[in-house]
């Protein structure tokens, strides 16, 4: 099978490094802009919920951080699979880059959810809630992936072994999504992603989608920046990196 040209270019570290450098300012600006507008809309313009009052305003950040965490894991798993199958080092670099970012957003989702649960559910933490438990498992999968890598001296070996854990763990992502339908949980059912009209008024739906999209773009911005750092780390001693650092700082 003849692979297209762009596939070969995506295997080239200098090309991907420069491409990420060119794309990331746009993603950063769009992500920050969407989050800023969405947060302002959510905190100032959107009405308070008739049951939860102003505590409902956490809905403009909590599901977003959880969603980014899950998306980061899907990116990690796909990149790890590509790296494992086609022995593409850059794909492993993407998986490595997604892990700490995903872990931080997942932790953030657990903490903001806990803060939200206190006034609305009457509890910070509920060990029997499936969605909380699978979200916690997601955090442990990210941390486990990173810990497993740290156990290997040899980077190629770390790439291949950690990729297996990364791919297997992806089963957890749909479980988190469907946990509210499969089990009885304190979490509410799907509000937006269902085959029906969203159960949210437009004044709440707009800021919700603005921050949701904003957090996603922000994540890809972070991912590209982290990937650049990862490429620099992996390419120490190569000619192109040598030329890059000498031309940018003569």
């Amino acid at each position: 099978m003849k692979l297209p040209r762009w596939f070969h270019l995506l295997g080239s570290s200098p090309y991907v490094y420069r491409l990420a450098g060119r794309l990331s300012p746009w993603l950063g600006a769009v992500g920050c802009g969407l989050i800023a507008v969405g947060v302002f809309w959510g905190l100032v313009i959107a009405p308070p919920d008739y049951l939860q009052g102003d505590a409902s305003r956490i809905i403009y950040i909590h599901p977003q951080t959880a969603y980014v965490g899950m998306q980061a894991y899907v990116v990690l798993a796909i990149a790890a699979a590509i790296g494992f199958i086609w022995r593409l080092k850059l794909a492993h670099a993407v998986a490595v880059s997604a892990a700490p970012i995903g872990a931080s957003f997942t932790l953030c989702a657990l903490v903001t959810g806990s803060i939200w649960g206190a006034p609305t559910w009457g509890t910070f933490w509920e060990w029997t809630d499936p969605r909380i438990m699978f979200e916690l498992l997601l955090l442990f999968l990210f941390l486990g992936y990173m810990a497993l890598r740290a156990a290997f001296e040899d980077r190629d070996k770390a790439d291949r072994v950690s990729a297996i854990l990364g791919v297997v763990g992806v089963v957890n992502v749909p479980i988190i999504h469907y946990s509210v339908l499969w089990w009885n949980t304190l979490h509410q059912g799907p509000t937006i992603m269902k085959f029906d009209e969203p159960s949210m008024t437009t004044d709440m739906l707009i800021p919700f989608l603005l921050t949701m999209f904003g957090f996603m773009v922000f994540f890809y911005w972070l991912l590209l920046k982290r990937l650049q750092a990862e490429i620099v780390d992996r390419e120490q001693g190569t000619r192109w990196l040598h030329e890059l650092v000498t031309e940018s700082n003569p």
Partner: protein, 61 residues
């Protein structure tokens, strides 16, 4: 304004959740920048080492 900050009595919950999320975003950016900068510094240092080693050899010859 104070009514806005009061958040209908939910101020500690709403503002701590927003504060923690903002901190997570900022820390991610800061930490990734630092990592990137250090990697480039390392590359630059190794370039300088190679250069000085090369000059030393030239001098010996």
């Amino acid at each position: 304004m104070s009514e806005f900050l009061y958040m209908g009595g939910y101020a500690p919950y709403v503002w701590s959740a927003y504060g923690i999320t903002l901190a997570a975003l900022v820390l991610n950016v800061w930490w990734i920048r630092r990592l990137h900068r250090r990697g480039l510094e390392q590359a630059r240092n190794s370039v300088e080492q190679v250069d000085s080693a090369r000059q030393a050899t030239v001098r010996q010859v």
